[in-house]
Structure formats: structure tokens, C-alpha cells
Symmetry: C2
Subunit: 320 residues, 2 copies
Amino acid sequence: MESPAIAVDLAAIREAHARIMGHVERTPVMTCRALDAAAGARLHFKCDNFQEVGAFKARGAANAVFSLTDAEAARGVVTHSSGNHGAALAWAATRRGIPAWIVMPENAAAIKQANVKGFGGQVRLCAPNVAAREAACAAVQAETGATLVHPYNDWRVIAGQGTAALELLADVPDLDAVITPVGGGGLLSGTAIAARSLRPGIRVYGAEPKGADDAQRSLAAGRIIPQTAPKTIADGLLTSLGERTFAVISRAVDGIGTATEEGIVGAMRLTWEKMRIVVEASSSVPLACLLERTIDVSGLRVGIIISGGNVDLDRLPWQR
Amino acid sequence: MESPAIAVDLAAIREAHARIMGHVERTPVMTCRALDAAAGARLHFKCDNFQEVGAFKARGAANAVFSLTDAEAARGVVTHSSGNHGAALAWAATRRGIPAWIVMPENAAAIKQANVKGFGGQVRLCAPNVAAREAACAAVQAETGATLVHPYNDWRVIAGQGTAALELLADVPDLDAVITPVGGGGLLSGTAIAARSLRPGIRVYGAEPKGADDAQRSLAAGRIIPQTAPKTIADGLLTSLGERTFAVISRAVDGIGTATEEGIVGAMRLTWEKMRIVVEASSSVPLACLLERTIDVSGLRVGIIISGGNVDLDRLPWQR
């Protein structure tokens, strides 16, 4: 299969930023001497855990929802997600005053279903497999005319996710490198396009769990190698790359680091203790890669995008 | 006993701010729609949990340490504290390159002793009572010539703590009210002086646990009523007012709210969940007072100083 042309550039990310300002938070960039010392680099954390929905996913969802024509918007949006994208799409749709249907596997945690409903989304349950999920989305589309907003394999979503790096580099223009977690690859793709355009010599890395290392294997193979049985606490990073995100990442990313489960939990706890912010396990993978030296940025100025802070406070991973 | 003259004014707080800038963080002010809705007011959280030592105590300690003459400084500083002030004084002394002796009760948690040592302080253990503590401090002073820096009943410390409100009102000039936790009263005193001077009509409130309500009782009685058997999870708020903090608070504070233990734990958890920041129990008492309606600021623009974020992540209060 031919790799698709990359349909997002810096101009598209700037347009997305103008579109979603006033909806998403312009999140702060934080630093921490203790983590700098541990990592041997100067770290700048872009705190998208502070978005109202608790994740960067607000950016892509808002860009997609506010890109729709009024006629399209009136018919609503639909997606499949058991995590932050579903909540973010519900949130963005509510802000535009349109319906959002979120297809979730019937075994999705009650707290996640409640979260989607809390932001105004309508939950549609399906069997926990890809075929059932796609059928459920197609059924909603056929029934309502809603627009599908894929969690990552969508240029509007990728452009929206790129706005985090746009803000990060506006605040810290002299970064040498930027690192994001990589699951489906929307955040990493948007970040790579924004960062490379603004600062061509910058290094861009993805970070993923060893137990869900499809991005690293896909880049090595030169083709998408789907994640078949992911096993990691970083539950935002279970998915495989899409053809669009693979097209961007294979061209614009310098490498993918991987982290052990112990490393991820340790980095998560260290962030809570030293920075006093609540980050989810998926967001701790970049720091874990630095501490385990699977990404080498010693002595450099490094941006890390903290992807989210939605955590079940009754079940913290270091207490299991 | 005659109430002491108040030796701190806005000029002293501005001087303190100039003195400690470059040492303490200029912490951000955060907002949260979900907490606004819960409290029925527009809340602005001054996040001093993001100080390097994890607490506003860095401000007063730095002001005291950097106020010393070189000759005084060379002999070091001493204090008694089992909590954030001890760590902060050790941190500030290390930044000036001078010794700090921290007298702690021998039953202080190992993690707290390690924290003081981690910031370069020298721990002196004593029996867990006031007489032993004062004797230990006096012994260090006699031995070394170190300057005592009391945790709150010290004008340099009070002026330093007032810098948080200075920054808060610079960032959000139109606040109608400001609330801080009250233990010994250093933060509340400094806040009251700064806020009243900058904005005379502003309301200033203290917030304390019902299980350690000496400030409320002292204000009602018109004299210091010491806390004899405090019982609360908010372990930063166990102490009684001092004569200096009582002098300020009795003249410049509009009222003291109290919160139940359940309310404090609930407010703490809500802050972690909705704001995604790590705050300690003591810092959650102002929000708890709003949610339990023991402080009435409905519909107003309210500043809350988040005093700290030092928490034992292995023992969270909602899991006990």
C-alpha cells in the first residue's frame, strides 16, 4: 500500500490553534530540578494533564468538531474509544452544542462510561472487538449522519494535537529535542510536524511501553506492524499506528524509546512526588525512557508533553 | 499581656519579595471549572505546592536566611519543626551556603527526617514535648551561635509568607476574598497584611480543621487559646497561634472557617481528580470550608493559597 501524502503542515496546525483557542487551556510548561538531575537533561514539561478533560485529546477533538460545517455539525459526531478521546469528543461536541455518540466496549470500566456521560456524550456499548466496534460506529453513522472522528488516524485530529508543541515551542523556543508518548500516534505526528517546521534541527522522539512496542517495530520494519496482545499499565498506549500517523512518524521522527513496566510506574511516582502533579501512566513513559536511557538526550534542553492525568485514585500502580 | 505592634507592612513584604526572587518559584495561579461549580464561586488557586520544597514555607525561610548579615549567617540557623518549615529552612540555608540545624521529635517519621537531610539540614532529635524542643534549640544556639528562625512567630517569616499573596494579587488584581489554611498563622498573617494593603476592601479568611480550631476559638475569646490535643489529618495545622500572628490575625482577618475530617479528605481528593495536582491535606482545608459552607463567599472571586504538596503516596487518606 502506498503511504498517504501528509495533509497537515504548520499552517494547518496554526489554523487549528486559532480555532480551538478559547476552548482548550493554554497549559503551562513546568520544570523540576530534581527530575533534571535524575534525567541528566533540562526538562520542560508541557502539562496537558491540566486540560479540562484531563488530556491533550481535547485539542484534536475540538479541532475536528469546530472544523465541521454547520450542516455537518448538526448531525453530530461519533467515535470509538474507551479512554480520553471519547471523553474529549463528548466535551468538544457539548461545547458546540451538538450530539456525540461514543462507542465503547461493554467491558469498559463504569468510571470511564460515567466520564463520557459527564461531558454530555451518549454511550453505545458493543462487544469488545474491532469488528463489533466498527459495526457500531457504522450503525450510528447510518442512523444519524454523524461524522466519524477517529481517535488518531484523522488529519484534523493530528493538526489539533500538534498545537501542544506549537505552544511549547512558543514558550521554550530553544529546545533541542521533544518527546511524546506514542499509542496510535496522533500526538507524536502532530508534534513532529509542528516541531520540525518551527525548528528544523530539533530531535523528535516517541516513547512507548516495551509491552506495546508496535511503533518501534513498525519503524524498524518500514511498515505498520499491528499491536496484537499489548500488555502494559499505560492504558492510553495500547493501540497500533494508523496509516496516516505511520506516514508522518516514519518520515519525521528520530526514534522510538521503550520503557519497562517498573520504569513507567517509577517515573509516574517520581513525577507525583517531585512535581506534585497527577499524571497517568501513559504520560510517564517519556521520562521512564530517559531514566532507562533508551532515549539519549543527555545534557540537552528537552520538551516532554504530559499527555494526561486521568487516574483511578483508588488503584494506584505502586500500591498493587 | 499587651499585644505586640505589627512590624510587617506592605513595604516589608515587597522587600522580602525582592530578596527571595531567584530562590523561590513564582508559582502559577490555576483555575478549575469543576471546582468553581462545586463551590459556587470563582476560585483562583495559588499553587505553592509547586515550590521546590513543596510548600510556601520556602518563602519565609528564604526571607529569614537572606536577611541575615554575613556574620550572622556564618553561624547558621536553627529551628524546631517536624514538617515543611524544617525542610524549607534547610533548603534556604543550603542555598546561602550556611549550616541549618533542625530540631525534630524523635518520633518524627523517617521520611520527614530524610527530607530535611536531603535538603542539607542537620537533624537534632529530642523528646516529643515543648520543653525538650526548646532546650534542644537553645543548646544548638549556645553551641554554635546559630540564629533561631521560628516557624511562624517571626516577622521575617511572616513577611516572606506574605509574598504569595503579593504574587496572587499581581496576577488576579480583582479578587473579592482570599483564604489560607491557618496553623501557627504565619501564612494567614502575611497574606492579610499584603492583601489588605493592596486592596483594602478584600475579605481575608483563615481555614482550619474542626479538630484543631484554636484560631477560631482564640479570635472569639480575644486571646490566644492554645491547641492542647489537636486531632486532624491536616498535620501542617496542629500548632497554635503565636503572639505575633495573633496580633495580626485578630486585627486583619474577617473570620475563620472550620472543616470536618471527611470534608478535608473529600476536598483533597476532589482537587487531585479535577485539577490533577498533588496537594496535602492541610492545603485542602480552605476548599473544604467552602464546600461545607463555613466560609461564605458565594458568587465571589476568591483566591486560595495552596500551601503544600508533600504527601506520603503510600498512605493516601481516602484509602485508610
